[in-house]
Symmetry: C2
Amino acid sequence: MSAQKTGRSVTIKDVANKAGTSIATVSYVFSNNERYIRPDLRERVLKAAAEIGYVKNAAASSIRGKRRGLLAVVVAQFGNTFFTRMCVEIVSLARQEGYVVTLCNSDENVEQERLILERLVAQRIDGCILSSALSLEDNTALLRQHRIPYVVLERSFPNSTLQHDFVGHDNFQSAFIATRRLLDAGHRRIAFAGWDSPIPNVRDRVDGYRAALREYGLAADQENVLTGELSEAAGRWMAEKLSGTLGAAVTAVVLGHHDIAKGALLYFQDHGIRWPEDISVVMIGTPEWAGVLRPRLTCIQRPEHEMAVATAALLLERIKTPEAPPVQRIFSSSILEGHSIRP
Amino acid sequence: MSAQKTGRSVTIKDVANKAGTSIATVSYVFSNNERYIRPDLRERVLKAAAEIGYVKNAAASSIRGKRRGLLAVVVAQFGNTFFTRMCVEIVSLARQEGYVVTLCNSDENVEQERLILERLVAQRIDGCILSSALSLEDNTALLRQHRIPYVVLERSFPNSTLQHDFVGHDNFQSAFIATRRLLDAGHRRIAFAGWDSPIPNVRDRVDGYRAALREYGLAADQENVLTGELSEAAGRWMAEKLSGTLGAAVTAVVLGHHDIAKGALLYFQDHGIRWPEDISVVMIGTPEWAGVLRPRLTCIQRPEHEMAVATAALLLERIKTPEAPPVQRIFSSSILEGHSIRP
DNA sequence: CGGCGGTATGAAAACGTTTACTTCCCGTAT
DNA sequence: ATACGGGAAGTAAACGTTTTCATACCGCCG
């Protein structure tokens, strides 16, 4: 409880002095080694440590020992609800294993991302979860070079033949069930508004949409795919495009990404286009703001909790067995029913 | 570029060998000391380092040197948009000064918070930004004991006479301008729906509301204050309460916190109560979801960017001059006009 | 030609731990 | 009584840096 007088911070040596023992004994007490220490001695050491406020210096201990007690999660869009949620869960899981987690935001900037990873390497983190910025570059070489176990989350790399440990969700399936939901409700003129992504996995969404149409015997000329950059503005533009053909050519739309969806839905609201009366809507994703829209949207939701658990578990496992072959875990999404679909 | 063969990681010693120099020289090259090194030698060292992929071990360097290169931001609600935004900005500012920042989420749990701070102390962080969990407990003693500079962000401690470095916003003023805005629009029967917070600063909001009423010569019996716990449910309940007296006793409401506001607004939507037709609304705060509500809400927004800059700057300054007297920076909010007020 | 001052580098101690190795002690078997 | 074995603790080397101090070299002046 009492504070130290000196400017220096309290070390193992101070504890040893106070307890009248050797520094080795103190070290053994604090690193849960199998070495046996007489209960009374152990007690004395703990008491002395508590009295002078000793806290083990993790940096020093990591230099001789191997474990650093530090993990990192690097994401490209910190503000994105999905990633925020993943971070929160991963951090809390890792904490249970005694790790401190540093969260980093590359802000979709590969240069920034490289810088971050370099700093993390300098910190000798024990492991890393990476949800890379959008680009052709693959910064994971840095991690491999320094033998830092890592798991790629959600975003994979376009031109890589390399197999990484990976946790993500099935984009094809997401779009497929979204589209099928509309088909089941009787719609036949269904548009898809999505992101013209450089990420291969994300492109699968268009394929999912197409596959669902096929399954219902709709031909290629029944497709109505709008894609563009990832922005609200793009969504508005797509909604505008759609609104011209409402009723006639289009009765429903699959909103393939929440950023685009936001723009589109705002356009609808601002132009008096109501869902589900004027257009039926399914959105892929469950952003925070979806909760306040009325009528409630029918959304496709990723199993966030399961994904977070899987990611954390996979990283911890890979730290234990670094040489094991890479694992890919792809999760399926489910429908969260709302009232945005008219039969 | 070439990877190391051995299992060990590349050290300063390897670089020295490769460059045919001493480890001291290599160290001097990489710590930007004032020591002069002949340009050709420096070149040789850098080249050797690059070739074998040397990255300085920050943990090792922190043990002899003093700087750890690690800061922490501890917040209580990671998902809260305000804190998310603050974190993003602070991290990016600190990075410019060469720091890695670890973001921690105490999830409004003091025990968790203490645990986190203990871990951070063990990591010997150079500084900490703390937005404490709600409780009577003040965990900053831990930080002071270990001489870790810190800045308290937004949330202060109820029963503390201690002066911390602090950055926050003026809750009184926020509520004051919110209420005055409604008064200016001609409303006289204005309710306040807020959080019955244990945080003294937050309680100021009710006072701000009251002060505005006074300024317009309204008596105490014109007050209509609803407070409760911080939740959507509480907001719904307050809205229900209000809806009974709409028009007659109440024509406008100040929503004092975004969580409560969310519940209230959902209640309004679900019961066909429209703003601004049936009730005029001002919300304190600018949560993400406010962007999709139509008509747009008039909100009170904190100067988030300025606050983030101030917080980061204050921490960095305090790291440089640890003994300087504490600084308090209180920011004022401004009105973001929407269409939720009827004259 | 010896000494001196200044400059560029190297040797080694120090940092706070972990851990391999050693020592000490005591009980038991020979 | 001596040797042996094993438990409990201490000694000291190691980890990868930083930093203090020492040294080697060089040119110059006396």
